[in-house]
Subunit: 386 residues, 4 copies
C-alpha cells in the first residue's frame, strides 16, 4: 500500500502554501491518500526549525542531500528558489523519490528536459506546481471546452498583471536577478498563463514577443520575505537583470490565436491573473482576483437574453465544491494548492502520473524560451525549433 | 387624419428632455405620427423666447391660458413645477386638448383623481411621464415577466439613490419645499419606483413607511437650474419641508412582497434607479446608471452554468433597438423620453389611451399618499383605504 | 498560564468550519494561544467518531453532560442545532467552562438573557458566532466608520439573499421547523445582518417588519447534511413553520435609518450577504460573494474622479492580511472562522471578554424578537419594550 | 462670418449618426456655429430622397461631383464606403470645401498622404471621424494623462471585440471585401484603437502583428444595411478577402509598450471597445459598452483604500456634461458624434484645424500599414519605414 511521507525543501511563501495543503487534505478529502508531513528542510537551521513548528512538520533539517536519501521519505517537494530546482530534482529521482517541483521547473529548457528524462527513467511520480489549473472556475472552463460547449476556439487572451515593484525604490530581491530567478515577469507570471493555455487550448506552434525592463537599477535588498522586501533608496544599487514585463503573440496548433501579457508594472492590479477564450459557440472569462467566478457566454441562448453569465463555481456541479462549503460560500488562493496536492496524492495512490507533470513543465519552458529567443532575435520562433 | 401640434408649458430640465424627444421622434421612428413643435410657454417671456430658439419651437408665449385655448394646438405638455399640474391639466382637458403631464401627476391623490375624471369625461388622450418604463432593458424585464419566464414573483426590491443635496449648504430649491413639490425624495424618486412596480409586478395592497429629513434647514437659493443651484451658507436659511429619504415595505395583491427606498443622501450615487425581481423561475436586475443592461437569471439553466447574465439590450430582439444603432452601441437617458413620445404619438394616431396614463398616475399617487399616511400614523395602510 | 482545551458539541457544517479554524490558527497566527482540539461530541457515536478522525479531534464522545464536567476541558464550543444551545450553555458555564456558542444564541430573547446572566455570574469567557464581522473587508468598513472617514451615518441597507429552498420540493429540514430553528431566514440570515448593523452603526431604537412563508408545506426530509437534503415530492408533507423571508425597517439611536431583508427565495443568489452604508462623507458597500472586496466612496475625492473604489482587502494595511498571502491573493468563507477563533483565543489569553460575546447575542435576539412582534402586531416596536 | 452649410455624401449607418449630430448640435451647444443641413447625396436617388426627409436634410442629390462644386456648400461630409473617400476628398478640397471624412481616411497610406497634402495646400479645414475621442470618459483619461496624474506611462492595452460575423453563414458584405473596405477588423476596429493610442499615449515607433481570417468563404449578400445583412447558406459563396482578427504589439516613442487586438469573432462581445493604461502613478480603464464610466486608480491613495474607482463621467467636472443631463444621467453612442461635430464647427468658426484631422488619419494609416507589412513579412516594422 502506497505511502506519502513528504520531505519539503523550502519554507517561505510557497512552503507555507504547500504545508497548508498537505495539512488540509485529509480533513476535506478524507478518501485521499494522506500525506505525512515528515521533514522540512532549509539552509538556515534555526529558521527552518521555527518553520517546522509553525507549519506542522515533524522534523526539520538543513541539508537537503541527506534528506533525499532517507528511506522514510517518499516524496520530495521542491519550493526552493528556482536556480536550485534542477540539482535537487535530479538527486531526488536518482534516489527513487517522487518529486513535486514548483514552477518554473528549471532555469532553462535543457535543464527541464534533463529533469523530465531523469524522472521518467527513474519511474517516479513527478508533478509541477501550476496551481491555477486547480481553481474550480478554471476546471469549469476546461469542462466546457472539452465537452464542445464553446465550439471551435478562435481566441485566447491572457494577462497576469501585478504592481508590487512599481515603486522604483523597491529593492533588488532574488526574483529580479536572472541568475537566481531565470527570468522576471515572464517566468514567474507568464509561465502560469502558458500552462493555462496548454491546459485549456492545446499546443502552441509559434510565438513572437516583446520584453521591457522599465527600472534598470534598484536598491540592494536588506531584508525580504514572500513578495515583500525592504531596501534603502539611498544605499547601493544593483542592476535588474530580468524583464519587468513580457508580452507575446502566439498561434496554436489548432488555429486558435493568442496574446499573452505578464507584467509587474500594472498599477492597481495586485494579482490579476485573467484569461478569456472565444469559441464559435461561446466564450469564458476568468480573473483570479475573483477566482470563484467564471463568466460564460453561449451563442445558443435565446436571442433576447444573450449575455455573459457570472457563474459562481461553488455549486455541487462544480469540481471540488462538495468538499467545501454550501453554494455561495467562497474559497481562496490557498485552496488551489489543496486541490493540487489531491491530484498528487491520488496519482501516487493510483500509480499514475499526475497532471500537470514534468512533461507539462518542459512544454511550458519551451514556450518561455521560444519567446525569449523571439525577443532577442526580433522574429517569430516556432516551438519546434526549441 | 390626426395631428399632434404640441404646446409645451415648462422649459427647464424636463422641457429640454421633451423637446429633444419631439424633435428626434421623426428621425428615428419615421412611421410615427410626427409631433409639431408649435408653441413653448413659460412665465419669463425673454427666457422662454430664448428656449424656443434653442430647443426648436416655432413660437413662444408666456400665458398658458391663452395657449390652451388655441385651435392650432392638439396636445398640452405640462412640465412646469408640480404645484401647477392640476390647474393647467384641468383647463387643458376642458379645452379638449390631449395632455401629457410630467410626474407626479398632482400634489395630492384627490387632485390626481379630479384630473383623471376630467380627462376621461373630456375624452382626450392623457399620459403621465413615467419615462423609465421606456428603457429597452426595462421592457425586456416586462416581457420576461409577462411571458412567464420568471415564474411566480416573490420579491420586488427597488432603490432610487441620489446624493445631490448631501452637502448641508446646498440651497433650499423648490424641490425641497412641500408647497411646490408636494414631497421630496418620495414623490420625486419613489414615484418612479412605484410606477415600475405597478408596471412589472402589479397592484400593491398595503404599505408601511418611514421618512426622514436629515438636514432641517438650508440656505435660501439665489439661483437654480435643473438639479443644480447656488446659495450662500452665510445667508438666511429656511426650513426643508419635504423628506430627504423615504423607505417603505409593501405587499402586492399577487402575494409578492416588496421594499422601496428613495433618498437624496446616498453618497456616491448620482442617480442609481435600480430594482431586482425574484421569481420562482428566475430573476432580473436593473440599474439605470447602466441602463442598457439587464441582468437575468434562470433556474432552468444547466446546473454548472447558472448565473446572472449581463444582457445588453441593444440587440434586434430588444424593443426600440432597431431604430437606433448596431448591437453594442448604447443609448442614454434622453432616449427614454423619445420612446415615451413614441407611445404618446402612436396612441394619438390610433385613438387609444397610451400607457402609462392618468390612471397610472392616480394609482401611483394613491401609493405615495398611503405611504405618507403610514408614516404619520405609524401603521400599515391599505391602498383600498385611500 | 491559560490553556484552551476545546470540547466541541456538533460536527456538521459549523463543526467542520470550527474544526478547521482551531486547526489553522497556530499555523497562521503562531503568536496566539493555541487551541487544543481535545474532544468532539455528538449524539451518534459512530458518526462522531468518524468526524473526530476526519476533523482532527483527539477524542470523541456522545454525552455532552459528561464532556462539560471534564477537568481537562477549558472551553465548550456549541454548534448543535439552535434548540440545544441554551441547556448546554447553562450547564457549561455552571461547570466553569468558557463558552463559544454559534448564533443564534437561543430560540428566545428570554433564553438568551438567562444565558448571558449565567455566563456573567460564572465569570467565564463567552462568545457568539457572528463570523462575518471577521472578514477583512468588513473590518475595513469598521475602521473607516470609527475614524470618522464616512462622517455621520445616514443609511444602512442590508440583504442576505439565498435561494436554496426555492424549489417547492426541497424537503422540510430542521431549519424550516420553528421548534428546532426558532425562526427561518430571519434568525438564520437576518441575525447576521443585525449583528453587522450593531457592529458598524450602533444600537437600533425601533423596528417594523414583514414576514412571508411562500411555500407552506414541503416533503418530509429523508436525509440531510449542511444546507442540502433529499426528500420525495410524492411522499408525505409537513408544514413549514418558519419564515421564508423577513424584511424590516429600522431607526438607529444615532438617527441613521436602515432596511433589512433576509430571504431564501432570491433566485440566483446562492449567498449574497451584502450591505451598504451611506454617510455624510462617504459610503461603503460589501457583498460576501466577493468577500475580499470593499467598495468605498469619499466625497472629498477630487471632483473629476469621484467614484466607488473597489478595494481588495488583501494589502498589508488590512486586518489579518499579513497572516495570509501576498496582496491580491484572496481568502474565503472559512477564514472568517479562523479570525473569529483568533479573537476567542486572544480573549482567553488576555482574560477579557471577546467581541462579539453573549451581550451581542442578546442584543441581536432583542431585535429579532422585536421584529417578530412588529410582524404579529403590525406596528412599530421599540427595542426598549423587549 | 463663417458659415457651415453641409453637403453629406453617404446616408447609411454613419450618415444617420452624422445627421443626428448636425441636427442636435444647436440644441445642446447653442453657442457653437450652427451647421446647415443643406444637401445629402447618394447614388440611389429614391433612397437618398427618403433619407433626406427622415434625417432632416433640405435637399437630396445623387451626383456627388455636382454637389462638391456648389457655391452654397461649405463642408463636404464623406461617409460613403471607404474606397470612395480619396476621390471625393481630393475633389472637395480642390473645390475649396472643408472636409469631414469618416475613418479610415483611405485604403492606403499613400492615398491618405495625398489627401492630407491636397487639403493642406488648399488651406481648408479637414477632419477625420475618430469619434471615440469624444466620449467624456475618454476625455477624462486624456486630462489625467496630460496633467501628469498617471505619471510616466508604461502600458497601453486595447481591444475592440465584436461578434457580428461569428456565424459562418453571415454573408459577404462590403466590409468583408478588401477592394471596398481596405481591410477587415484591422482598419474598421483597430484603426479606432490606434487613434486612441495616438491621442492618449503618443507616437508609435514599431509594431509586429498577426492576422487571421477564420472563415474563408461566405454566402454572397443579397441585402444589407448597417452592420446587418442577409444571405443564403445554400447560395453561391465568395472569398473573404479581409482579416477577421488582427493583433499587434507596439513600442511607443515614449518607452511605453502596447498591445492591440481587433476581432469580429469574440462571442458575447457586441462592441467592446476598451483600453487600459498603466502609469507610474495610476491607471485608467475604459470600455465603450459602459461608455459613461472610467475606472481610475491612483497609487497616492491612502494605503487601506487603494482601488479602481468607477467614475461616472456625467458630473459638471467632466467635458460636455454641462450640455446634457444632471449627474448620473447617461449619454450614448451617438453623443460622441455630436461632440465631434462640435469640434468641427468650432474649428471652422475659429479658422483652425480640428483634432483629429487628416494628419491624424495619415498617422493612423501608417500604423495600419506597418502592421500589415509586419504580418506579411513576419518581422517588426518601424513606422519610420512607412
Amino acid at each position: 500500500m502506497p505511502q506519502l511521507r513528504v520531505g519539503m525543501i523550502g519554507y517561505k511563501f510557497m512552503g507555507k502554501a504547500h504545508s497548508n495543503a498537505y495539512r488540509s487534505l485529509p480533513m476535506f478529502f478524507p478518501n485521499a491518500l494522506k500525506p505525512e508531513m515528515s521533514v522540512i528542510c532549509g539552509r538556515d537551521g534555526n529558521a527552518v526549525q521555527q518553520a517546522a513548528a509553525q507549519l506542522g512538520w515533524q522534523e526539520s533539517v538543513s541539508d537537503w542531500r541527506t534528506l533525499i536519501n532517507r528511506e522514510d521519505i517518499d516524496l520530495i517537494d521542491i519550493n526552493a528558489p528556482s536556480d536550485a530546482h534542477k540539482e535537487i530534482a535530479l538527486e531526488a529521482v536518482r534516489a527513487g523519490k517522487h518529486v513535486f517541483c514548483e514552477k518554473p521547473l528549471a532555469l532553462t529548457l535543457q535543464d527541464a528536459r534533463e529533469m523530465l528524462q531523469a524522472a521518467e527513467e527513474a519511474g517516479v511520480v513527478h508533478m509541477v506546481g501550476f496551481n491555477y489549473r486547480f481553481s474550480p472556475a478554471v476546471r469549469l472552463a476546461k469542462r466546457l471546452i472539452e465537452s464542445g460547449r464553446l465550439g471551435k476556439l478562435y481566441h485566447f487572451r491572457a494577462f497576469f498583471l501585478q504592481d508590487w515593484i512599481l515603486d522604483p525604490d523597491f529593492p533588488l530581491v532574488w526574483r529580479l536577478q536572472k541568475e537566481v530567478a531565470g527570468s522576471g515577469s515572464h517566468g514567474d507570471l507568464g509561465a502560469h498563463l502558458i500552462d493555462l493555455a496548454h491546459y485549456l487550448v492545446g499546443d502552441i506552434r509559434e510565438v513572437i514577443g516583446m520584453s521591457e525592463t522599465f527600472i534598470k537599477e534598484r536598491p540592494l535588498a536588506s531584508e525580504m520575505t514572500g513578495l515583500s522586501a525592504k531596501g534603502s533608496s539611498n544605499g547601493p544599487k544593483g542592476p535588474v537583470t530580468v524583464d519587468d514585463a513580457t508580452l507575446f503573440l502566439a498561434r496554436f496548433e489548432s488555429g486558435c490565436i493568442g496574446s499573452f501579457e505578464a507584467t509587474r508594472f500594472a498599477a492597481g492590479h495586485r494579482s490579476t491573473n485573467s484569461f478569456e477564450i472565444n469559441g464559435s459557440l461561446g466564450s469564458v472569462r476568468f480573473d483570479f482576483e475573483r477566482m470563484n467566478e467564471l463568466e460564460v457566454y453561449f451563442t445558443s441562448d435565446d436571442e433576447d437574453v444573450q449575455g455573459f453569465r457570472r457563474v459562481l463555481a461553488t455549486d455541487p456541479a462544480h469540481d471540488y465544491a462538495d468538499a467545501w462549503w454550501p453554494p455561495g460560500h467562497t474559497i481562496g488562493f490557498e485552496h488551489t494548492f489543496i486541490h493540487e496536492m489531491l491530484e498528487l496524492s491520488t496519482a501516487v495512490a493510483e500509480g499514475r502520473q499526475p497532471e500537470p507533470n514534468f512533461r507539462d513543465g518542459v512544454k511550458c519552458q519551451a514556450v518561455l524560451e521560444a519567446v525569449e529567443q523571439s525577443v532577442d532575435e526580433r522574429r517569430w520562433v516556432a516551438i519546434s525549433e526549441m
